[in-house]
């Protein structure tokens, strides 16, 4: 019996060791080597002292913050309204459906929409606003990123709203709260776990985006993701790329820790 159990777990453990632990260790290991293959802490010193990298990190965090904010502002009301519909599961499915369509294709569509003579500019000219350079701007990059992320924000918020016991809302009204008071004092705090999960699902990918950045934002290094891609695939400076990767991993843990607190509180009380 014992042997059979062991056999079961062998391929899975092999996967953990080879594809989970080893790569993680390797990226830390690689970050300690410079471009000439010498063991050194230079990468970290460069990262921390040259303003370029810090500024890039700051920009990346700032963009990710803006993308997350825009996504949240669009998604919360969407999730809220969806929740009050009759066939809410069906409508939710319609929000989710675009995530099943290849990401590249959705991004590609925006190249056409945003181009100098594309549909958006045609529309702008039509309403008399004139044509503008849309592609390769920060705004278009953020719009497309938000577009891609909306379903991933709507879904957790929708779920946490759907879990709210309707009698809590009745109780709030019964105790004299207006619709707005009920929202701020009951619905919003109770949907926080969904909001936090949504922020987690959007913020980290927004930090590491490089495909949308390249196609819509142009040939600029504006996120941690583009920096890593550039160092690994263009300048071949794997050490520096790994160093930025380590920074990204740390940033990921910070976000997860910051958005994980809601669950902590629930567990704490018991």
């Amino acid at each position: 019996m014992m042997r059979q159990k062991t056999l079961f777990i062998v391929p899975y453990l092999l996967w953990i060791v080879l594809f989970v632990l080893a790569p993680l260790i390797l990226i830390f290991y690689q970050s300690l080597y410079n471009i000439n293959g010498q063991f050194t802490l230079d990468n970290y010193t460069t990262y921390l002292t040259s303003g370029v990298y810090l500024k890039m990190t700051f920009n990346s965090v700032w963009y990710a913050f803006l993308i997350t904010l825009v996504t949240l502002v669009i998604s919360y009301p969407t999730a809220y309204v969806l929740n009050r519909l009759h066939n809410k599961q069906f409508w939710l499915l319609l929000v989710i459906l675009p995530t099943w369509i290849n990401l590249l294709l959705k991004t590609y569509a925006f190249i056409g929409l945003f181009s100098r003579t594309g549909s958006i500019n045609q529309f702008l000219r039509f309403v008399g606003l004139g044509s503008h350079q849309l592609l390769f701007t920060d705004a278009s990059f953020m719009f497309v990123a938000a577009y891609i992320e909306i379903p991933f924000m709507v879904l957790p918020i929708f779920n946490s709203l759907a879990e709210i016991n309707p009698s809590l809302i009745n109780a709030s009204k019964d105790l004299g709260a207006s619709q707005w008071q009920t929202f701020t004092k009951v619905i919003w705090p109770l949907s926080m776990p969904g909001v936090k999960a949504g922020i987690q699902a959007v913020f980290i990918p927004s930090l590491s985006l490089f495909m949308i950045t390249r196609l819509i934002g142009g040939n600029r290094v504006i996120t941690l993701g583009t920096a890593i891609e550039e160092h690994f695939l263009t300048t071949q400076n794997w050490g520096m790329g790994s160093t930025i990767g380590v920074v990204l991993i740390i940033a990921m843990f910070i976000v997860m820790f910051a958005t994980g607190e809601a669950k902590q509180k629930g567990g704490h009380t018991r």
Binding site: I16, P23, I27, T99, I111, S115, I150, L224, S242, M256
Partner: protein, 272 residues
């Protein structure tokens, strides 16, 4: 008063849905245009579909992508199911650490996975190409299968297995005749889910693909960097159709098991 309120929220939702679907519709509509740009519709034509089917490089890449996806999904489903069965047997701390390790690839950004796998393959001396892409896809698909199968296993009443033993089943018989049939919906849903993950993946593949081998996502990326090419529109219309069929198949399978929420939620890893 109430009607008024409804119309505002209805309007808002309509706008959101238009934003969500406009780019997709836009792509498909232009795939049937006789022109060569996504600026002006030049009348109905199937010429871009004809171009697409005559493009042998693209056809090869489609086959590459499908082979990688099917193989990766199949192997990941087997390993992942075994993993879920193994995790089910563990308790307490061991179980928690296994689950945490399982989730590492789920939460890691794709660039990190791609970059670290690139280092890994280079160190092992594995040549970048079909093998490295397939191994990477298997690797990031396994945790998804585990997360899809484990809830099904947890739903199983423990007395069900006891009953099988009580009626004289061996361990293997209990597994093959009681446990596996009961978790088949989870396994099937897991297979479909990772199939779409593999088909859709760009970032990880981009890092480990090397020069000689390409998948659809990578090919679309390199063509999109050159600008508009309506052959891509034709391709996207076909892929849209394929995804809809996959979604349909997936829902048909997962409906038997019922766990829609969890299943949709898992797709979150795709966010980049």
């Amino acid at each position: 008063m109430k009607k008024h309120h409804f119309s505002w929220s209805g309007l808002y939702l309509t706008i959101v849905f238009i934003i969500l679907y406009a780019p997709i519709v836009y792509l498909v509509v232009y795939s049937f245009s006789a022109g060569t740009t996504m600026e002006k519709y030049h009348g109905f034509s199937l010429r871009h579909y004809a171009d697409l089917f005559a493009d042998t490089r693209m056809i090869t890449i489609v086959f590459n992508t499908l082979i990688v996806a099917l193989l990766a999904a199949l192997i990941a489903t087997i390993v992942g199911t075994l993993g879920a069965l193994a995790i089910k047997e563990t308790r307490g701390k061991v179980r928690n650490s296994l689950l945490s390790l399982n989730n590492v690839l789920m939460v890691s950004p794709d660039v990190i996975i791609g970059a670290s796998f690139l280092i890994f393959f280079t160190m092992l001396g594995i040549r970048l190409g079909f093998v490295s892409v397939l191994l990477s896809h298997i690797a990031f698909c396994i945790p998804i299968v585990v997360l899809m199968v484990l809830p099904k296993l947890n739903e199983l009443s423990p007395t069900l297995v006891d009953a099988a033993y009580d009626l004289g089943a061996s361990r293997w018989q209990a597994l093959s005749q009681v446990i596996l049939p009961a978790i088949t919906p989870g396994i099937g849903a897991g297979f479909f889910m990772v199939l779409t993950y593999s088909l859709d993946d760009f970032a990880v593949t981009f890092f480990v693909t090397g020069n000689g081998f390409s998948t659809l996502s990578v090919e679309i990326y390199s063509r999109a960097r050159q600008g508009i090419n309506l052959e891509i529109n034709a391709l996207s219309a076909l892929m849209l159709l394929a995804s809809l069929l996959l979604v349909g198949g997936y829902y048909l399978i997962s409906k038997h098991g019922g766990r829609r929420h969890r299943v949709i939620a898992v797709k979150e890893g795709d966010a980049q």
